[in-house]
Subunit: 244 residues, 4 copies
């Protein structure tokens, strides 16, 4: 069982807060997913995304989570790319790291799932490294405190556990959220086959350099989107998503 | 031996039906392969493909299967990319998942193969994950019912088995199709060396994120083809392929 | 020790003949490498390359072999990409498979190597698969007959052997060319460390889908160069290389 | 423990000297990183970079190191891409190999690090191969002499050691610089978890073909930046970075 150092927690947690707001804000599942996938959207005024097409106003935002539906819950995995800040020198610096977003929501009947009760966990690049390095018999455990940098520190505690089956044919992925403020305690468990976990590991290995921004370092000849125009575009998109 | 849960079968099977029609429709091998590789062609009116060039009317469709010819049969592997739907918000959502298409057809003499008797098996992303995770001594087995969502459910049964040689120097890939309607029972077996299987695993690992659409998530600055124009292009192509 | 089936030999051998002519034709090392890397150059009139830039007349040909210099010989590895044929339907089909080109040439003194005595071996995609699947204690052996499809069949025999050190710290790569016509028998051996072999395996895994043309299948939105113009460009380049 | 042959040292060392000047020259951390990432900047007049955008004067330089902060020191890893020379024939040849740049700098208090005392180590492609091939119990050691090709040869000695924990849960990465001229001896040690090392290995595997220039061989349709204009651009950038 591997536990990650708490020195890395604060970054993930304030990130989740900033990106998703309070639990329950988003009514439409599609809105949430699209919002989550728009890397670069933040309250910082000089925040740029190098992930949106630069040709005029058309941006290609793509919604492609890998989702598995099981008896007790469903689990969805998708990358959220980093955002960049442009320095005066013209160089782009990573503003917000990319993450791998896990979402789990419970089953409420035969082939029916309750999206409203979803819980999320945003894996950092290093936590993704932990997942990639897992073998058929190892386990990993990650702890996040979404309120770590605020006055509510310690009130909400999220834990993600990936535990191998004893026979090596799969893993249990369980996400627990203990919320002292709401007096709630959610626990979701999803069994994952070796094949499904291989898909996740392979896709994570593919996307990890993108979460780190290294695809931008190696691909410097690609067009880069311009500031202000991008923020307005994303704002409009966001409004239209929220009104659905 | 690993058997995949039947909860994933229906999606693959209706997909194969929709893409390929009844067995025997396509007379020209090249037509079939090209048709198969045109991701995004479906009867849905708002079905888009993000895989076709956006510059004017020129689209770069590429035919590049990995094929091995053995004594009793030949086997061909090629990716079919996913298709996307454009939402009102401008976001693209995966409409139809990508698959890895396996085609096997029997030998009828020295260096002669009967393309007309080919059988196909479309591996989903998760089934590809199963293939990638195979070691030198493991085996996998997949079952598809192409008619699962129709009145003919249970009448046609496809099984793909990948079984390791006992000495670890290769695998048998066997595809069986039992058809109660046609009263036929085809069984093809192709021995694959470790080297050939490594090519398949490496190529599958490369293409898996593309089957999932994750290359589109990470590569948002690439041009995206526009709806209507795309459908007409593909229709014309399709007609010309069928008439050959 | 793995020996590849001879059924795959003919393709590689006529390919080497067509691409490189007789041993000794090329006087300038750079010429040879550049010629070798211009995928798509062949005597076929309708042979296209999808690897050359389509913007006007500027094509980005890149010369970037991975080379190691050892006491007795030097070894160089570089990919040669496939070439494509355009069908009437507008679809591109692989015309000539890509290969991984190994070149070995002997040392003739302290830090001096004799490029004129170089020997080449072009690994097919499947042979690259064999290399990628090698562990620290395995060995591989490949046999090519460059004259297999001609009247000189059996007169020239090339063998490439990759044999692990007994202590697992590296490999011997030896290339032997027995030529009954020239009455010559060249044998070159290069010791490769585990680190150097890891570079080759990693680079081979990266480039294998490109050798198969699968990067073209997944990247259909990239511009494609036009026929006639390409052939003339490459011809001019070739002449200028030969005259150096 | 693996020691690399000294025959490869000279290339790395003169490279580090040429790129970074004497220790202590750069006052601003960001300057150094940006300078380091501008592949292609050298004193050679005909040195080109294929890594800078070709559209007009806008170049997308991206600063995205993977950094871990530990108790005694911080460690940063980032790729520096190769630079290319354009031959008269129009072919591009690798001028300077790419490297993976490791930077370590010491802690001077709670969450405080002294950038001024940083030390760097530039891993060649082969040394990156060594890192990628490491298992949970192996170790690697590399030696560089930055002054090898000058009159100060032997006066400065850098060693980078990557040593696995005995329980297989991580590695110590230690960088030592013994400088006889300055009479100094710096030693930095950073403990790395298995997860963090997996991120480095995965990112290194991704970037290795780019360090070798093989992404340029496989991606020949991408635009290529023009000579003279590039050098002037980079010079201006460099001046502005140094004056910060």
């Amino acid at each position: 069982m591997m536990k990650l150092s708490r020195s890395l927690l604060s970054r993930n947690l304030s990130y989740e807060k900033r990106l998703f707001g309070e639990a329950g804000d988003v009514r439409d599942a599609l809105c949430l997913h699209v919002f989550a996938f728009q890397s670069g959207i933040s309250t910082a005024t000089r925040d740029f995304s190098l992930n949106v097409a630069s040709k005029g106003n058309s941006a290609a935002r793509v919604y492609a989570p890998y989702t598995v539906y099981k008896g007790k819950a469903a689990l969805s995995v998708a990358p959220i790319l980093p955002s960049f800040t442009k320095l005066d020198s013209g160089t782009f610096r990573v503003e917000r790291q990319g993450v791998m977003l896990l979402t789990i929501w419970p089953s409420i009947g035969e082939r029916k799932y309750d999206w409203e009760r979803r819980q999320r966990f945003a894996l950092s690049a290093t936590e993704v490294g932990s997942l990639i390095s897992m073998g058929p018999t190892t386990s990993s455990e990650f702890f996040h405190d979404p309120s770590m940098l605020s006055s509510n520190a310690g009130q909400v505690r999220k834990s993600l556990k990936i535990k191998a089956f004893s026979d090596g044919t799969g893993y249990f992925i369980s996400l627990g959220v203990a919320n002292n403020i709401l007096k709630s305690n959610e626990q979701f468990v999803v069994p994952i086959t070796t094949a499904e976990f291989t898909v996740m590991k392979t896709a994570c290995s593919f996307v990890l350099p993108h979460l780190m921004g290294w695809d931008r370092v190696t691909n410097q000849s690609e067009p880069v989107d311009i500031v202000g125009k991008l923020s307005k575009e994303n704002s409009q998109l966001l409004d239209s998503e929220w009104d659905k």
